[in-house]
Symmetry: C2
Subunit: 379 residues, 2 copies
């Protein structure tokens, strides 16, 4: 995004809190999907940061799990970022406290700072379109709106929440009123929503000023702010990291921004857009995103196919051969193998749950160094 | 088999020449399937040797690839065998030279010695039935017949050759004339053969005296014997191994016993039997042989299933999860993974061929120690 000439640069705020277990065995709690090169040779988080660099952008803030701090810092280095603020959560408290902390920190410098909140682990194919949508959103945010991005549906997805789009807002090109949020639908409802022409996927990206967010949070989720303010006030800060104070932060209720603010505020707006966006929430999504051979297969790494079709096959480890399977997912790491029908991609969680129940370390961490950077030349 | 009181003990001759590439990635040229615990916690060759131990049996002879000599010796030790003769082939020359060499060596001691020739890598479920069939075959062999075992078909297999059974031979209970050998059929022909009631699978097991075999070889495949006799005469022999002389053995034509003798001799007979026999020629065969769960899955090793049915899943390496696949084969070793539709089990060879063409070591050897003995508690 180029500078808009209207004032301060936009502050990207990346929330890096997910554990990504639906992408097991690659993604695990100790090394979740944002750190893996899944859609490109770069990690998801590096790609996300790179979409928010350049004129018009302030250095990003990243809110992450304490345990991931060095991996986040390393990815920011790789992206060439200077001056980022890495905010460490002592415990996970969902998105409202995470973005609230970022807003409090930003407001100390400038309450009118425009924050662009995004997940660290989504994919966006059309970056110029993203930056056009962002410019529209920033203009609306400067007028005090809480602006989300609504993705025009390309399929009747049941894995996303939906947004009903209202009338265009006068004087704000590309921005519409937001009629309502709709929970993740069942298949029949998703088909209706996707075909309606006025329903959009809820991308979870938002733009607002720090002041607007905090005011709306004060109004609609006042229980969040007292302990959060205390955790920010009592933070410890060194050259690399900002540590929210643990005891106070633990008292902050765990609540999503959608629930705390977005679904309640009277200031909601939406920018409808076609960005080639995906939350990369399953191996099936990675198959959708991948470059396919003539038989509809996507392969990553040391893979041989023979009579396979519609498969996603990824090896971050040993030689992997797939023969005569259709619509399968085969994912190989150094310490686990998953072979699955692509339609069952949501059931990976059942395997992870069983591994957790059995106390298996493969549920949460890689037993050998997965060295994801060595995947660069494979992805 | 108990002693039959008619003279010398039966000499088991195990041919251990196969490379078993259809069971890649477990079986490879350098460590083929006979050395793996595939059907039981014991290796295939140990199981085979154990079926030929006890009263009535002389110590076995094993004809094997020079490169496999210590593994063969180790498996014989594990089986508790004393006094075995391990005959090393400098190069592979198919089954006629292998059994011919064993016959020449046995005939030096006793031309009337009864040899029981068998592959080292087949499975037989019903050992008492095997020993009953063997007793019938031995009686016929002592009358100068070349006796094979014909397995009553349990399915229209296209992977086996067939034998047409003739009339029962008078005075030899359980032994029939052998009308003809039939090459591996196509699916339609296999269905006809399997349903006919008079066609049997060709097991490749034979019983004959050393003298009978050599006389029939002289008559029907005379080109085999001169160089073979020379290779045996010039052998070097130490405490553990008998090494056939390389230069002479290299001049022996490569030819199967079926082609050299069995299909040509006028002395052929067959013992029809139900032994639960399998040549374990594919992963599909191992699925057939394995103990199945309620959904028809066979698992070996560190395997988790979720909504799988009709699958064969084996890990000799890392944790392996299979979700929502039907009729699949998933085989995991330390340096390769195969995921395949069970109906495509014959296509493994295509993968191995491609790996060979690419100079990939995984085609022929294990990159890390596969430690098959550690599989004992998994199989």
């Amino acid at each position: 995004m180029s500078g808009d000439g209207k004032g301060d640069a936009v502050v990207p705020v990346l929330l890096s809190g997910g554990s990504g277990t639906r992408l097991w065995p690659v993604s695990r709690t100790s090394l979740p999907k944002q750190f893996w090169p899944l859609v490109s040779p770069r990690s998801m988080i590096e790609e996300t940061v790179r979409r928010a660099l350049g004129p018009g952008f302030a250095p990003p803030m990243v809110v992450c799990n304490e345990a991931h701090r060095f991996m986040v810092a390393e990815e920011l280095l790789r992206a060439g970022v200077e001056g980022a603020r890495i905010v460490l959560e002592p415990v996970g408290r969902n998105s409202a406290p995470a973005i609230g902390a970022a807003a409090l920190l930003a407001a100390e410098r400038n309450p009118d700072a425009v924050l662009w909140m995004m997940a660290a682990d989504a994919a966006i194919a059309d970056v110029p379109a993203l930056h056009r949508a962002l410019a529209a959103a920033v203009a609306a945010a400067r007028q005090g709106l809480v602006v989300t991005f609504g993705m025009r549906p390309t399929a009747p997805e049941t894995g996303y929440g939906y947004i009903e789009q209202g009338e265009p807002l006068p004087g704000l090109p590309g921005v519409c009123a937001l009629a309502r949020f709709i929970e993740k639908p069942d298949a029949a409802a998703a088909a209706t929503l996707a075909a309606s022409g006025r329903h959009l996927w809820n991308s979870g990206m938002f733009v607002f000023t720090a002041g607007t967010l905090l005011a709306e949070m004060e109004r609609h989720a006042p229980e969040v702010l007292p302990a959060l303010r205390e955790a920010v006030a009592k933070r410890s800060e060194d050259r690399d990291f900002i540590r929210l104070e643990a005891e106070a932060f633990a008292r902050v209720p765990s609540i999503s921004l959608d629930y705390a603010v977005a679904e309640r505020t009277g200031r909601a707006a939406v920018v409808p857009a076609d960005l080639g966006w995906s939350d990369v929430g399953s191996w099936g999504a990675l198959w959708e995103l991948g470059a396919k051979d003539a038989d509809g297969n996507v392969t990553v790494g040391d893979v041989l196919l023979e009579g396979a079709s519609g498969c996603y096959v990824r090896s971050d480890g040993v030689l992997t051969a797939v023969v005569g399977l259709s619509d399968a997912v085969v994912v190989v790491t150094d310490d686990a193998v998953l072979a699955m029908h692509r339609d069952r991609a949501q059931d990976v969680k059942k395997i992870v749950d069983r591994l957790c129940a059995a106390g298996r370390p493969e549920a949460v961490k890689h037993l050998r160094s997965p060295l994801p950077r060595q995947g660069d030349d494979k992805a």
